[in-house]
Structure formats: C-alpha cells, structure tokens
C-alpha cells in the first residue's frame, strides 16, 4: 500500500537484526483462530518472553528449586546465589549506588504501594502535597489517593496539554508544599516520554522527593539512575520480557533505611519476641515472605538479555517503526492518534470516528491482531481526551513494518464492514 504522507523507510539494514531477535521468541510463530499468524501489538500490556528467560525458569525448577536465605543445603545455596545475582544484575543495569537499593516486589503496583505505605504513612502530615500527573496509570494514582485519605495530605496533578505533554508552567508553584512527586517516565496511553530529569531537579530544589514509574520506559532501556537522579523508581518484570509476578523498587538507601516495612512476615525480621520485632536490614526489610524466586531469577535473565542488545540499533529502529506506524494510522480517514509528544515511545492510542474500540478490537482479533481496547487503566486521562475508551497498538523491538501494515489493512476492513452493515 503506498501512502504519500508516510515516510519512506528503508528497513533492509535492520532486517537481519530484527529477524534474529524474533527467532528468540517462540510465541511469535503462533497461529490463532485456526490459521491466522499472531500479530502481537499489545506490548505495553505485557511483552513476550525470549528463550533465554524461558530456559532459566525451566532450569531453576528442574535443577535448583529451593527457598532462599534459609537452608544450608546445596540447592538452597544455589537458589540464594541466583536470586542475589539477579539483584546485582538489576543494580548495575540501573546504575544504582548499591544492590541494597534494589527491592524485589510483585510488580510496579506493589512497589508504588510500598512507598506510599512505608514512606507516606510515616512522614506525611495533613496538608502536605503529593504531586502526580494527569497521565498516570491507575497504579500511580490510586496508592496516592489512598495515602492522602489516610494522612490528610493533598493530591495535586501536573496538567497535560492537548498534545499529550506535561504542562510544567506552574510546576514551581505546585511544588511549594509538595513532599512527593510521582510521575510516569513514559505514558502507557500517550507514549509521551516525560522530562524526568528536569522535574527531579526542580522538585529537589523544593525539597520534594521523586518517584518514577518506569513500567513503560524500562523495557526500552531508558532508565539510568545517574541521569534521572530520582529517589525511587519502580518497574515490572513482565513488560521487559521477564516473568509476571515480579518487579523492582529502587530507593535511595538512606530513604529505604528510614522507612517502615510494608508487609510483615518471614525473612524481613531481625529479632522476634511475642510482643515485638525488629527489622532486617534493607532490602530484606521489604521482602516479607518467600519471594517469587524463579521470577526474580527470570527477571535477571531478561535484564541480561536486554543488556546484550545493541541499543543504538534498537532505539533507532523503535523510533522509525513508531513514526511509521503513526503516519500509516493517521492516513486512515477519521482516525486520530492521541499523543503528539516529540519524544515518545511505541504505545499508540487512537480513536476512530463512529467505530467503538471494543468493536474494532474484537474484529481485529479474528484476523490474529492482538491490540488493546478500553480505558488502559487511565480512566481520568481517557475521559479528559473526551472518550470512555480508546484503542491502543503498542510496539516492541520484535515488531515489523508488515505487522503495522496488517493492522492498517485490518482497520480498513473493519471500517468497511461497519459502513456496509450500517449502510
């Protein structure tokens, strides 16, 4: 299909690299609904897993399964070593000052809740301000709403402009009594990459802490703590090719030391009597109960896989593919892409005149196209954009321009179908 408005891109230089990458993901060979090749464009929801991760999970359960940090037997030592090796891998990948700063959680959501409880319950006073943005995922909104309700703190929002970028014109004013700023690094709806470093510098100047929700940016290897300079950072394993059920909270060690534990139970204690307990050192103070051991080890494998990629190539390819997809989608009559930030990732949300996202997604699925329809866990933002639901195609490193073309053809077919039926 030729489209004069779309950029002419020569993909041939990238092709061998992307084809080689695709061979690492067995699921990409799947057929759905009989004989339809799977076209997976729901990567902002969760990414597919490379063999390197699948094999590590299998090997752990086949050869080394044991609980960690207890037992003195061979398997327990192997499991503990592999578990702690993942912490080292994550710490060095993020550029953390110490592996003590890396807490394993169940995911981004738990990591943010951990800070809202462990830090917020202890240090927030009535009238203190918590600042989020209007483009937050519910996971980075509701824990702060709940904290505000518990403590009498006040929740405030950095506005989002019509183009889907943060309006920072009133930021200094908003920071006046703010103790915590919590913002997404990359929007799961608009794709926008936020100027985190700038926000952090201004927040620190006002004595506020900053938590970065890196759920969407970490998979694109955009997280460098030395550059971001944030106080907390959270992300999930499953969006960066790792297992579900595991995530990471990075916290400045001195803040983690000062915070209260979130959950109580095994592993997080130092001494326990009938009446009382003292806590283990960080990070163990925050890892109550048996952790998701295999998942943590799998996450380590996913991070090592990401580290093995040539990001100069993959960042250029991702940018080109995102730009191509937006241009192709916008060539469809009645289609509007929401999010025009110059610096953006591959989560592309759009609406189409007279075509409901549910109806579109349902029919595209019949063609093997996996996309997302709904409020994308960001109801206030979607409503602000004037919709109750949007459709989202989200790209990852293994997606191909042909898959974007198939999406565009699929959308045109669905449009024709409804046009015919509704006459």
């Amino acid at each position: 299909m030729s489209n004069p408005a779309s950029p002419m891109v020569d993909w041939s230089d990238w092709r061998p690299t992307i084809d080689a990458l695709r061979r690492e993901f067995p699921i990409l060979d799947r057929k759905v609904h009989g004989d339809k090749p799977l076209i997976y464009l729901d990567n902002a929801a969760t990414a597919q897993k490379p063999k390197a991760v699948l094999e590590v999970l299998n090997r752990f359960y086949t050869e080394s399964n044991a609980n960690v940090h207890r037992g003195i037997h061979c398997l327990a030592e192997e499991a503990t070593e592999a578990y702690e090796a993942s912490r080292k891998t994550v710490a060095s990948w993020l550029g953390a000052p110490s592996e003590k700063a890396i807490v394993f959680t169940r995911g981004t959501t738990e990591a943010i809740n951990l800070v809202a409880h462990g830090w917020g319950n202890k240090f927030l006073k009535p009238g203190d301000r918590i600042l989020v943005t209007e483009m937050e995922h519910h996971s980075n909104l509701i824990p702060w709403q709940m904290l505000a309700r518990r403590t009498g703190a006040v929740l405030d929002w950095i506005p989002v402009t019509g183009d889907g970028v943060l309006d920072l014109s009133r930021l200094d004013e908003q920071l006046a009594s703010t103790r915590m700023v919590s913002l997404t690094h990359m929007s799961n709806v608009l794709g926008t990459v936020n100027p985190v470093r700038d926000v952090v510098a201004r927040a620190h100047a006002h004595g506020a802490l900053v938590l970065v929700d890196a759920a969407q940016s970490a998979p694109h290897s955009l997280v460098d703590l030395n550059e971001l300079d944030c106080d907390f950072l959270a992300f999930s394993g499953h969006k960066l090719m790792g297992p579900t059920g595991v995530g990471v909270l990075y916290g400045r060690p001195e803040l983690l030391e000062a915070m209260d534990p979130f959950l109580g139970g095994g592993e997080m204690i130092s001494k326990v009597t009938w009446q009382d307990a003292t806590w283990a050192d960080i990070p163990y103070k925050f890892e109550a109960g048996t952790p998701p051991i295999a998942e943590v080890i799998g996450l380590g494998a996913a991070v090592r896989f990401l580290q093995s990629l040539d990001w100069k190539v993959f960042h250029a390819y991702s940018d080109a593919l995102t730009r191509y997809a937006i241009a192709q989608l916008e060539s469809i009559d009645g289609l509007v892409v929401h999010g025009k930030a110059p610096d953006r990732g591959g989560a592309i949300s759009f609406s189409i005149r007279d075509l409901h996202p549910h109806d579109l997604a349902h029919f595209l699925d019949q063609d093997g196209l996996a996309i997302r329809a709904g409020h994308m866990c960001a109801q206030p933002l979607i409503h602000q954009l004037g919709h109750s639901a949007l459709t989202r195609a989200s790209l990852y490193l293994y997606n191909l321009p042909e898959e974007v073309d198939a999406l565009v053809r699929g959308i045109l077919r669905v449009k024709e179908f409804f046009h015919r039926v509704l006459g």
Partner: protein, 142 residues
C-alpha cells in the same frame, strides 16, 4: 403489543436457528449488529449510575421494570457488537416472568456459535448485564 408473545423456548429456538443458518462469522455479527440497531432508543435521562454497567472496554445501560408479574427490560451499549448482544439478551429475557428467566440460563449464546469469551469477560459489561437480569428476576420472585 398484540397477541400472545411466543414462549421463551420458542424465541430461543428461533434465534439459534437463524444464527446457525449464517455460516460465516461476519454474517453472524452482521445479524447481531442489526438486532442492536433495531433496539428502541434508550432515553438519555435513563443513563444514570443506577442503570449503568461499566466495563473496561464498553458500557452497558439497562432499565428494568417489573409490571403485571413480568420483567420488562430496555438496554443499550456504546459498542455496536455489545448493543447487538444486549438486544439478543433482551429478545430472550424481556417480557418474561421471573420463573421463566431463572430457568433459562444464557447457554444459547454458545449454541449460536458466538464467542463464549464475549460473555465470560468482565471487560464489556455483558456478563454483569446477565447477572443484573437474573438478580432482578430473583428479587421480583421473592
């Protein structure tokens, strides 16, 4: 309405037959969507939180009335496929006695060759609509 309405069993049989005649899934959805288009207008003033069923992808509204021993249902959705399925469910369940409703679970959806997933997911509100219809029937019976 004139004349006695056909029984719930006869209506279900007829709908299942009609759907089975449509071999291609596209035609089945076309049929469903047309059913939805034929629904009487759902007045805007009825779209209150009481009558709203919020799914994460689409919204459903339902307005039940219990009159002369029967439950009358009006409904709609912002999604055309879901509105069609709402119409299908109302064709079966509206104007029935609570006993008729309660003795006819919506198994006919799968017999029609429609995606089971459409009703089992909580994302489009249909599952909750069925629950609401059955709760209304339970309450009316009590």
């Amino acid at each position: 309405m004139s004349g006695p309405a056909p029984s719930i069993d006869a209506d279900i049989r007829e709908l299942v037959e009609e759907m089975r005649l449509l071999e291609d899934w596209q035609f089945r959805y076309e049929f469903i969507i047309e059913l939805g288009q034929a629904l009487p207008e759902f007045p805007e003033e009825w779209k209150t939180p009481d009558h709203e069923i919020q799914g994460c992808q689409s919204q459903v509204w339902v307005y039940p009335e219990f009159k002369d021993g029967r439950i009358y249902l009006r409904g709609t959705s912002d999604s055309l496929i879901v509105r069609g399925l709402v119409a299908l469910l109302l064709k079966v369940y509206s104007g029935r006695t609570p006993g008729e409703i309660l003795s006819h679970p919506p198994d006919f959806i799968t017999e029609m060759g429609l995606d089971k997933h459409l009703l089992s997911t909580r994302s489009n509100g249909l599952n909750a609509l069925i629950k609401r219809i059955f709760q209304t029937a339970e309450a009316a019976k009590a």
